[in-house]
Amino acid sequence: MTLTEILLEPFGFAFMRRALAGCLALSLAAPPLGVFLVLRRMSLTADVLQHGILPGIALGALLGGVSVLAMSFGGLLAGLAVVLFAGLLTRATGAREDSQFAGVYLMALAAGVTIASFQRNLDLTHLLFGSVLAVDEDALVLMASVSSVALLGLSVIWRPLILESLDPGFLQAQRGQGGLWHACFMALVVLCVVGGFAALGTLMSVGLMLLPAVASRHWSARLGGQMVAAVVVAVLSSTVGLLLSFHANLPAGPAILLVAGGVWLASVVAGPYSSLVHGGRKLV
């Protein structure tokens, strides 16, 4: 096989072009949100979400048919409900948020798989791990819209979100509505997770958000630099991952995430900042 055959020929297929365009769109919006998740020490919260949206997607399919839009709408509602529910439980019981989240997501995963199993025409593997074939016109429009909204939204809440992450007490003393910005941020995260599920699957969707973000910490010590690095890693991983998925006949989600994971490991070993090789570099 020549290089052209490996790199370009797959994109002769319309479904591959759609998948690539959709994943590139998500690669622009999801990783910056991931950087904030990592900085706010909420990586596992995002993990919970990907399980939490499954019952919504399955219900959406049950009520609205196996269409990306119906399933995404269900997923969006379920994701927002999970965030709200876990937040309320934490506030009401005073328990640690992660234990509440664990309870919620285990239930949600079980409920989602149960509902999905009622439907013969719903392929659970595609739902959980994604399929390039699932990216039809509707899914592509959805991914592009979600990315646009998420990027715009993040730019709107940029300053208060930084302050809420950096010094929540100061924001509170300035009557700065810390809870509002946190809620807006979580809504954007839910939106991106749902947006990615058609191509990447519900279990993998968060990966495109988080893996580039954790890798980016080894490429820049600055917030802006980490955003750019995370987007670059995501764009690369999406492209290479889709090719891998095509040639090796792998589900798209795991393929993309394996590539992103490889980049992350390489960054941990040899990235310019706080890596094994350059561990002591001053963050100046």
Binding site: D167, A173, G176
Partner: protein, 236 residues
């Protein structure tokens, strides 16, 4: 100017601040007392960060009128922002979430950092600062906030002597400008030397007045005994 009228605050099941009435005018006032005396809770209540379970706080209490320096640890030092970016948040009260920094704000930020000896550190990440440098950054933010009431919770903990001298000079200047400066402090010698007035508390108010009198051995003993008595009641 800030006035407390019969102020009480719960901290969990404890009454951390027990019916305190006092008034803080322009100049420097210290809040002293044994550990667990409710000093931090009272300061946070004055900044609007702790709900009152009774009484009222009057005077200059708006978010733009009160600037609070909390104990170290409130700020996530690993978050990747530069010193200047952190100082610039002092302008939040004027520009909020979406406003633009005016030329005046920029000048004020630069001047504040110059005054704290941070001109060379504008672009340094806060994660790369020493404890003393970081405290200078937080004080620069207070300068930018430009509030008439400034509340400080143990501002000299873990800072070097040169920084301590610079910060004290700044406090005296604020006092001279007619601002109300209230600081929670542990070091009695420092209070006697630099703070004309002191509120001594042990959940309830023990004394309020000229520092030498408020911190008399008799009052300090009374503060310890009061707190121990309350703790004893709690245990039995």
């Amino acid at each position: 100017m800030i006035t407390l009228a019969d102020v009480s605050c719960q901290q969990g099941a404890l009454l951390a601040v027990d019916h305190i009435s006092a008034s803080f005018g322009p100049g420097l006032t210290a809040i002293a007392g044994p550990n667990g005396a409710g000093k931090t809770t009272l300061l946070r209540a004055m900044a609007g960060l702790h709900r009152l379970s009774g009484g009222a706080i009057g005077g200059q209490t708006g978010p733009r009128q009160v600037a609070l320096l909390p104990q170290a640890g409130g700020v996530d030092r690993r978050f990747p922002v530069t010193c200047r970016e952190l100082v610039a948040f002092g302008a939040w009260g004027r520009i909020g979430a979406f406003g633009r920094l005016s030329g005046g704000d920029d000048a004020r930020i630069d001047a504040a950092m110059a005054q704290m000896g941070l001109s060379a550190l504008h672009d340094r990440l806060i994660s790369a600062l020493s404890a003393g440098q970081f405290q200078r950054v937080l004080f620069s933010r207070l300068i930018v906030q430009d509030a008439p009431v400034i509340l400080l919770d143990e501002p000299f903990t873990a800072v070097d002597t040169a920084t301590e001298a610079d910060l004290l000079a700044l406090l005296h200047r604020w006092g001279g400008e007619g601002r109300t400066v209230v600081a929670v402090l542990h070091d009695n010698d420092m209070i006697l030397q630099h703070f004309p007035k002191t509120l001594l508390m042990a959940r309830q108010m023990i004394a309020l007045g000229a520092s030498a009198e408020a911190l008399s051995p008799a009052n300090r003993l009374k503060a310890r005994q009061t707190l121990e008595a309350e703790l004893g009641l709690l245990i039995t």
